[in-house]
């Protein structure tokens, strides 16, 4: 039982880490009025760039940094399409996901050819000192990126609710006309929000390739970006509630894998569906009072 619980909590944090980073990123974009469906591709690109740079330089943190830079560029491209050119956010976001997925795979083949076995590097270690704490070592000994993701939650909350910049982001997401009249540069604010968003999403992808696996393969994101989009609604566009959503999804994911090993005589699909069922149920309850950023999906044009 003790192994079960401790393993469960440790796995919850691991599974939730890329989701926390991805949702925090998406939160910035949506709070500024941009639904960024480029998230899946941005995470994929982050996983790829992080792996390549981390592997080539031998410095995994440099890999994370490079992934963040790539994510920022992806965010700016989203800005060019949806903010500057006013293209439909659905179309530009999905386009970016397709573009970045294709480009990353293309780049992968240019660099690694067609290996029969995915190339791998030594991934991040779990934090060594904390891993040796008796009993709780397994839980505390997480990857540094997990702690960073958790620490970013209050940071993002503080940025959004306690800084002038956060106020501007929320203003352009709610009422860009009024924000503009008040002297806020709507375009610049949205660009910046998308840049932050892209960086966070890409860091979430880099967690998978540099910490969880030490490898990059196609399908490495496997829809986690789309899960983030749902978690934002679940979290009602608030950083702390979004964190609970990511932990809930991660927790049920980790739980169902453990239930499968107990030999309960149920079709395994029931277990696999659990995280999604729980999220849908939670959405149905929490999502009814969802308050979308009022300007979400609306391109802003100055008259």
């Amino acid at each position: 039982m003790e192994v079960f619980l401790i393993g469960l909590i440790a796995a919850t944090l691991r599974v939730a880490t890329p989701l926390i980073l991805g949702t925090l990123g998406e939160l910035f974009a949506e709070r500024a009025g941009i639904l960024n469906l480029g998230i899946e591709g941005t995470m994929f690109c982050g996983a790829f760039v992080g792996f390549v740079v981390g592997g080539a330089t031998g410095n995994l943190w440099l890999g994370v940094l490079a992934a963040i830079v790539a994510g920022i560029l992806a965010g700016l491209l989203m800005g060019l399409l949806s903010v500057r050119l006013g293209v439909s956010q659905h179309v530009s976001g999905l386009g970016i996901t397709l573009l970045l997925t294709g480009l990353s795979l293309f780049g992968f083949r240019l660099i690694f050819g067609e290996p029969r076995i995915p190339p791998s590097i030594a991934p991040f270690e779990r934090l060594p000192i904390l891993s040796q704490v008796p009993i709780l070592g397994e839980i505390l000994g997480q990857y540094a990126l997990t702690y960073i993701a958790l620490a970013l939650v209050p940071v993002c909350w503080w940025m959004l609710y306690r800084t002038n910049f956060g106020l501007q982001i929320r203003a352009v997401g709610e009422n860009p006309e009024a924000a503009d009249a008040a002297g806020v540069n709507v375009f610049l604010t949205r660009y910046l929000a998308l840049a932050i968003a892209g960086g966070l999403m890409a860091a979430g992808g880099a967690f998978l390739s540099l910490a969880q696996l030490g490898a990059f393969t196609y399908g490495i994101i496997a829809g986690r970006g789309w899960v983030c989009i749902a978690l934002i609604i679940f979290g009602n566009w608030q950083p702390v509630r979004v964190l609970w959503g990511a932990l809930l999804f991660g927790g049920v994911s980790a739980l169902q894998l453990r239930l499968q090993t107990t030999g309960l005589d149920l079709p395994y699909e029931m277990f696999l569906a659990l995280p999604y069922l729980v999220t849908i149920a939670a959405l149905a309850v929490a999502g009814r009072n969802a308050t979308y950023p009022a300007a979400l999906l609306k391109a802003y044009k100055r008259e």
Partner: protein, 338 residues
């Protein structure tokens, strides 16, 4: 008043276009099609191990000068397979089209029926269809059985974990053979089986393996990629799948059931070149007796395997090669705990 200028839009479009065309540029084909032209049509990127095995065999045949080879991958399951196959059949007019029909069964068979002069050989869980649609599949249950024997002998906790993609006939075959092998050597062995419902989600596969380790497993069979990463983290023995995956963890990956498509490809080329080709199930060419499947070498782990266990496995292997031992083909979905 700031409107996106036309120039701006054009530059963006041009940029995207350049990026796309660079990515999609076809390989220049060499003139003089004296050799058979074989076309590969893959639903997934060729990095996917199943399609990767086919691709590797075709590349080998090309390198040996037996065929000309072109391919398209990542065709997907959204209806593009039929269009791609028809375009290829009309324009390139290959002698043979090889691919995977899983998820595209009807499309592949429809096109084959319209081009009776082209040999179609597709990976499929179903049967062949006259006059020209042959099927193959990976039939590596024999080396999977041998890996099971090794796992059964190596486990200290009497618990072994298997992480699989979907419970389709192929995966069930391997898993059941692996379980049977483990039970032959160690009747007390408990085998945990988890499916992740994805062919490629290594992070989920790793988490599934870690959950099995929490449940006591100390030897893992990585039907899917990602499991060996868990073994590496915990320092446990593991088995790969489809190709020799020892290099992922040289001290820990004991062996892997290996699929080899060379015998199938060579047989196909011979049949088509001699005009004797007919639709058939090519499965024998993917089994041990004809060299289509084998147990990967033990590499650095050989010294860690107890001698009597090794002798037993070698004996079984020889019996399979000689046709004296038959590994049961069981395509029932395995239970979560066996």
């Amino acid at each position: 008043m700031r409107k996106p200028s036309i120039l701006h839009t054009l530059v963006t479009c041009a940029l995207l276009l350049v990026i796309f065309t660079v990515g999609c540029a076809p390989k220049p084909t060499e003139a003089g099609p004296t050799k058979l032209l074989v076309f590969g049509a893959f639903a997934t990127p060729i990095e996917e191990p199943w399609d990767g095995v086919i691709h590797a065999a075709l590349l080998k045949a090309e390198a040996e000068g037996k065929i000309d080879y072109e391919y398209t991958d990542n065709i997907g399951y959204a209806g593009d397979m039929e269009r791609v196959l028809r375009e290829v059949a009309d324009q390139q007019k290959p002698a043979i089209i090889i691919g995977d029909a899983f998820g595209n069964e009807e499309a592949a068979r429809r096109v084959a029926a319209d081009y009776p002069n082209i040999a179609f050989a597709f990976g499929s869980g179903l049967g062949p269809s006259e006059p020209n649609f042959s099927v193959f599949d990976n039939w590596i249950h024999e080396p999977a059985y041998l890996c099971g024997m090794l796992a059964g002998g190596l486990t200290k906790t009497n618990t072994i974990g298997v992480v699989g993609g979907y419970p389709v006939p192929e995966v069930n075959r391997l898993t059941n053979a692996f379980i049977a092998g483990a039970k032959e050597v160690n009747p007390n062995a408990k085998v945990l089986v988890t499916f992740i419902n994805s062919w490629f989600d290594p992070a989920a596969a790793k988490e599934a393996a870690l959950a099995q380790i929490d449940a006591g497993a100390d030897v893992l069979y990585a039907e899917r990629f990602g499991v060996i990463e868990a073994a590496k983290e915990k320092g446990l023995f593991a088995f790969g799948n489809m190709s020799d995956q020892n290099e992922l963890a040289p001290d820990l990956v004991v062996s892997s059931p290996v699929w080899n498509m060379n015998p199938t490809v060579e047989y196909l080329i011979k049949q088509v070149a001699s005009g004797a080709y007919t639709a058939q199930d090519l499965k024998d060419f993917s089994m041990v007796a004809k060299g289509g499947a084998n147990l990967a070498p033990f590499h650095a782990t050989e010294s860690k395997i107890p001698a009597d266990l090794l002798a037993k496995v070698r004996e079984r292997e020889q019996q399979i090669k000689d046709g004296l031992f038959r590994v049961d083909i069981n395509e029932q979905q395995p239970a979560p705990v066996n």
